[in-house]
């Protein structure tokens, strides 16, 4: 495991030197078993930092907020923002760099390697403790965790509560960093898309029923969109807000304006929203799993985004989030791109 004191030391140092505006990291509230995002501004705040398998959040999301905040800052502070990232999270930074969302100098990356472990999936854990509230989680050796609930303690094999995306992880070591802590051994996964392959093997009707039932649950809270670092559009397809309407705008024009989808959570509009989000993330989704984690009704969103990740790899040989100089998936092409589906 990464030595937390080393991480704290690095963080303390950069804050003392005034090198960064603040550092986005993880802390644990006194009465909580999970980590939460924390924003450290002073060297003494650094003691709040934690690093363990409950650090599941993708903090890169807050770099997007920082850009918006920066635009309103007076006077402007051009120092970078420090951020603690896991391997998966670091790929999000690469995507944002690739898309020129910010410059490399705007971010100071404290990379921490997950080594052979990963983060816990809260839902898997709840299942294991049969819904009893978790009071504490100890990570002992990395293979076995110890859960404390109101009814006592129980041992759990790590592999049973680690997030699916961690079990299939292809980026356990951060791919971009200013300081890197932890082991640098990269994991290999034999079949990273096995869940998608399983879905593909179902019949058309089975797939339709599966997705229809899932999208029926959607309450259009847009937590998936809000949690995703890559969903940074100022105006999203679903937010038709920028239509100039005056007293003289005729009803027919208002009725015919481009409204791609209705706000109502009906099946057809829900599926439209999710399809649009998935296609807009093609070649950009780095499987941090935040969308699925944030969803209050457990829609398996990773399974949707992963399909396009698989197609990007298999059709076009494209891997998202490793090379910031790579062009975006759909703004480049190869002469040999498949066209067997084109008449």
């Amino acid at each position: 495991m990464v030595n937390i004191e080393d991480l704290k030391e690095e963080a303390r140092r950069v804050l003392k030197e005034g090198k960064v505006k603040y550092i986005i990291g993880y802390e644990r509230a006194s009465d909580s078993w999970k980590a939460n995002p924390v924003f450290l501004r002073k060297p003494e705040d650094v003691d709040k930092l934690v690093w363990d398998p409950t650090c599941f959040h993708n903090l890169v999301r807050f770099l997007v907020d920082e850009k918006r905040r920066k635009a309103r800052e007076k006077p402007a502070d051009s120092r970078p923002v420090g951020i603690v990232v896991k391997g998966c999270d670091s790929r999000a930074i690469v995507i944002l760099l690739q898309e020129k969302f910010f410059e490399r100098a705007d971010v100071f990356v404290l990379g921490v390697s997950c080594e052979s472990s990963g983060v816990v999936d809260e839902r898997k854990l709840a299942k294991k403790t049969t819904g009893k509230s978790v009071r504490k989680l100890d990570f002992g050796d990395k293979q076995n965790f110890i859960v404390t609930t109101d009814d006592g303690t129980m041992g759990i094999a790590a592999s049973e509560v680690l997030a699916d995306r961690c079990l299939d992880c292809i980026a356990n070591v951060p791919v971009v960093s200013d300081r890197l802590l932890g082991g640098k051994d990269k994991r290999t996964v034999a079949r990273p898309f096995h869940a998608v392959e399983k879905m593909e093997s179902l019949s058309q009707d089975e797939r339709l029923t599966f997705w229809r039932d899932q999208f029926k649950k959607c309450v259009r809270c847009y937590a998936c969109r809000s949690a995703c670092p890559m969903c940074y559009c100022e105006e999203c397809v679903v937010d038709t807000i920028n239509f100039a309407v005056s007293a003289d705008t005729p009803a027919e024009e208002k009725a015919q304006r481009i409204k791609w989808l209705e706000k109502s959570p009906v099946d057809s509009e829900n599926v439209f929203y999710h399809l649009v989000r998935a296609i807009h993330l093609a070649g950009r989704c780095i499987d941090c799993g935040e969308c699925e984690r944030a969803c209050p009704v457990n829609i398996p969103l990773r399974m949707l985004n992963k399909k396009l990740e698989k197609e990007a790899k298999e059709l076009f040989g494209y891997d998202a989030g490793f090379d910031p100089d790579q062009p975006a998936l759909i703004s480049c092409f190869k002469d040999g791109d498949p066209e067997d589906f084109i008449r």
């Binding site: 879905m199 593909e200 058309q204 009707d205 797939r207 339709l208 029923t209 599966f210 997705w211 229809r212 397809v237 791609w260 989808l261 209705e262 009906v266 099946d267 057809s268 509009e269 599926v271 439209f272 399809l275 649009v276 998935a278 296609i279 093609a282 949707l304 399909k307 396009l308 197609e311 990007a312 059709l315 076009f316 998936l329 759909i330 703004s331 092409f333 791109d337 498949p338 066209e339 589906f341 084109i342 008449r343």
Partner: protein
């Protein structure tokens, strides 16, 4: 005798090639089924996946995107981008259970009026047995 189902096809045709090709079919009096609602776009590369999803959401039974042959794009590279983007769209639609026959792409040049009619005829024949599209159609 029951009325045969006539599918509605929304076709995004690039102005310089495919739309011109469809015009050629027209002025040459070539017969082909009237099931197409053509929408002219400047380039197949400008067809956003949103257009395709929206067409299905509004009830299209089939969606066609047709552009210039690779190498002949009026804007040099647009059709290559279309080839990539729409490959992904096709895979995604199939994945969520839409019949794969409903979304098609073709390369039709301004001289290929005949090919255009064949593309449409075959498309209509492929859609007829599938019936009306209900899987993505807007419901209230």
């Amino acid at each position: 005798m029951t009325e045969e189902f006539e599918p509605t096809i929304v076709a995004f045709l690039c102005k310089w090639c495919s739309s011109a090709g469809s015009d050629l079919a027209g002025v040459s009096r070539m017969e082909y089924p009237p099931n197409v609602t053509p929408i002219q776009v400047m380039c197949s590369g400008s067809v956003s996946p949103l257009y395709v999803f929206s067409a299905f959401n509004r009830g299209a039974d089939g969606v066609l995107v047709s552009g210039c042959h690779p190498g002949d794009c009026h804007y040099i590279k647009g059709n290559y981008y279309a080839r990539r983007k729409l490959a992904l769209v096709k895979k995604l639609l199939e994945y969520v259970g839409l019949e794969p026959e409903r979304f098609q792409m073709s390369w039709v040049s301004a001289a290929e009026g005949q090919k255009y009619t064949r593309v449409i005829k075959d498309f209509v024949n492929a859609l007829k047995p599938l019936g009306p599209q209900t899987k993505l159609r807007r419901n209230s």
